[in-house]
């Protein structure tokens, strides 16, 4: 239910006055200010960071290892400097993007060092090390996306093997996915209740609850649109299914935007990002070209963002871009 509808209902039932309704809407609009631009920057950061990680994973031998190591650390220091400058200038949106890039650079650097010294190890060791080393960036950031990603990495490092087997088992059948939807839904509700019970004191519970909600949503989407990801597990992949998923998200985003339902807009944006990411990931063949492609997409988003910010006063006037 959108905020407008909700507050109208409250006014009709004499729960709040008309003045209070206007105050609530004004507060919420102010609170969600800049959400879209922040999301665009985080997505750009995600694409650029993942592109660097993919290029490292490709282990391209055009350049000698020493040059790759120096370039990697130089890039990382550059991002850290970017974060520092944005901290000083209080550009919070850009600051989150740079911290996000630093977080991903940590993973890329661990991967590069592991490749250089031919270190063998499971995902769990890598994830735990990544989570611990990158913790300072997460503590400095106010980004929900970064916090969520860090928790996923950290938890997968701790219980990755068990979780992997559990997911493989659950995704094997329709009944398994349906059970997953119910389990995630129940856990999301339980964690949210616990969060409220302790009077919102531990924010992490709220994050876990939201993660579980995304899990529910994602499992539900997998259940409905399982045919929309091209990979060897899915021989019946059809382009119609992809179009259907895209149309579904466009419809959900448009409806959320039209109804000014910001929670729904945020949820669907994140799900849309996840879908695009998995779609790209399922198409990976050559990591180097995919990495370059990711970086170019990220840079393109940044360029578009810059152009929108600088040139179009009309667009700037749109509520959602403010």
């Amino acid at each position: 239910m959108s905020l407008e509808t909700k507050t109208n209902l409250w006014v009709e039932n004499n729960l709040i006055s008309l003045k209070q309704k206007e105050n609530i809407i004004a507060f919420e609009k102010d609170h969600n200010k800049g959400f879209l631009s922040k999301t665009a920057l985080i997505i750009a950061g995600l694409f650029i960071g993942l592109g660097v990680c993919l290029m490292v994973a490709a282990n391209w031998d055009i350049l000698p290892t020493s040059v790759k190591i120096i370039a990697d650390f130089a890039l990382w220091i550059g991002f850290a400097y970017g974060a520092y400058r944005t901290f000083e200038k209080k550009q919070f949106r850009l600051q989150d993007m740079f911290l996000f890039l630093c977080f991903l650079m940590t993973a890329a650097t661990i991967g590069l060092i592991a490749q250089t010294f031919q270190l063998n190890g499971p995902w769990t060791s890598f994830a735990t090390f990544w989570a611990l080393v990158s913790l300072p960036y997460v503590l400095l950031s106010s980004s929900f996306s970064l916090g969520t990603m860090w928790i996923v990495v950290f938890v997968s490092g701790l219980i990755g093997d068990i979780f992997d087997k559990f997911l493989e088992y659950m995704f094997e059948s329709m009944a398994g996915i349906m059970s997953l939807v119910l389990i995630c839904g129940a856990l999301s509700y339980a964690f949210e209740m616990l969060y409220r019970f302790i009077k919102n004191k531990i924010f992490l519970l709220h994050v876990i609850s939201k993660l579980m909600l995304f899990g529910t949503y994602f499992a539900f989407i997998t259940l409905l649109f399982g045919y929309a990801l091209p990979n060897h597990y899915n021989p019946h992949f059809t382009y119609f299914a992809v179009l259907f998923v895209l149309a579904f998200f466009v419809y959900r985003l448009f409806w959320a935007f039209y109804k000014q339902n910001m929670p729904s807009f945020k949820r669907n944006t994140l799900m849309f990002e996840a879908y695009i990411f998995f779609f790209f990931a399922s198409l990976f063949d050559n990591l180097l070209t995919s990495g370059i492609g990711f970086i170019l997409v990220g840079l393109f988003i940044l360029l578009m963002f810059y152009v929108f910010q600088k040139t179009s006063k009309r667009i700037q006037k749109w509520e959602i871009f403010k």
Binding site: A57, A58, N59, D61, A83, Y84, T106, A114, G121, L140
Partner: protein, 146 residues
């Protein structure tokens, strides 16, 4: 937040990984090189084809390279999963080529390790029929062009 604290927090992870890199570089200095024969292994991994998955062939390996002429089997590929499978990371463009060569067992594959008792052995070079794999790769491409 104070400027110094902010800079320290931002640089801490970078310094941490730079120290790790230096530690691994230094730990290779002054270590003995040992030459081990390897055989192929089914990687069963999503990233398969982007590295060379192998097992050490202890039967062919010369154990006189080690102390008391005993091969320290437990010290190699400790971290590897699924039956002590080791990895040698190669460029994704060449990994599948070497992987199939290793499986066909037509050529002899060896890995040179930097080894010191009690320390993590570090794989340094891959040899194919006694030659560095980069030279073999160059030859393969030159032959193909010709």
């Amino acid at each position: 937040m104070k400027k110094n604290i902010l800079v320290s927090i931002l640089l801490l992870p970078i310094i941490c990984l730079a120290c790790w890199f230096l530690f691994l570089t230094c730990s290779q200095i002054g270590t003995k090189e040992v030459r081990l024969y390897i055989t192929g292994y089914d990687p069963r991994d999503l990233l398969a084809g982007r590295y060379l998955a192998y097992q050490i062939d202890w039967e062919k390996t010369d154990c006189t390279q080690f102390e008391n002429n005993i091969c320290p089997k437990e010290e190699f590929c400790k971290e590897a999963r699924w039956g002590r499978q080791c990895r040698f990371y190669l460029s994704e463009l060449n990994a599948s080529l070497f992987e199939s060569m290793l499986r066909q067992q037509v050529k002899t594959f060896e890995v040179i390790y930097a080894y010191k008792k009690g320390r993590l052995p570090i794989a340094k070079r891959l040899l194919i029929d006694g030659e560095d794999f980069k030279k073999v790769l160059k030859k393969t491409y030159t032959d193909k062009k010709a």
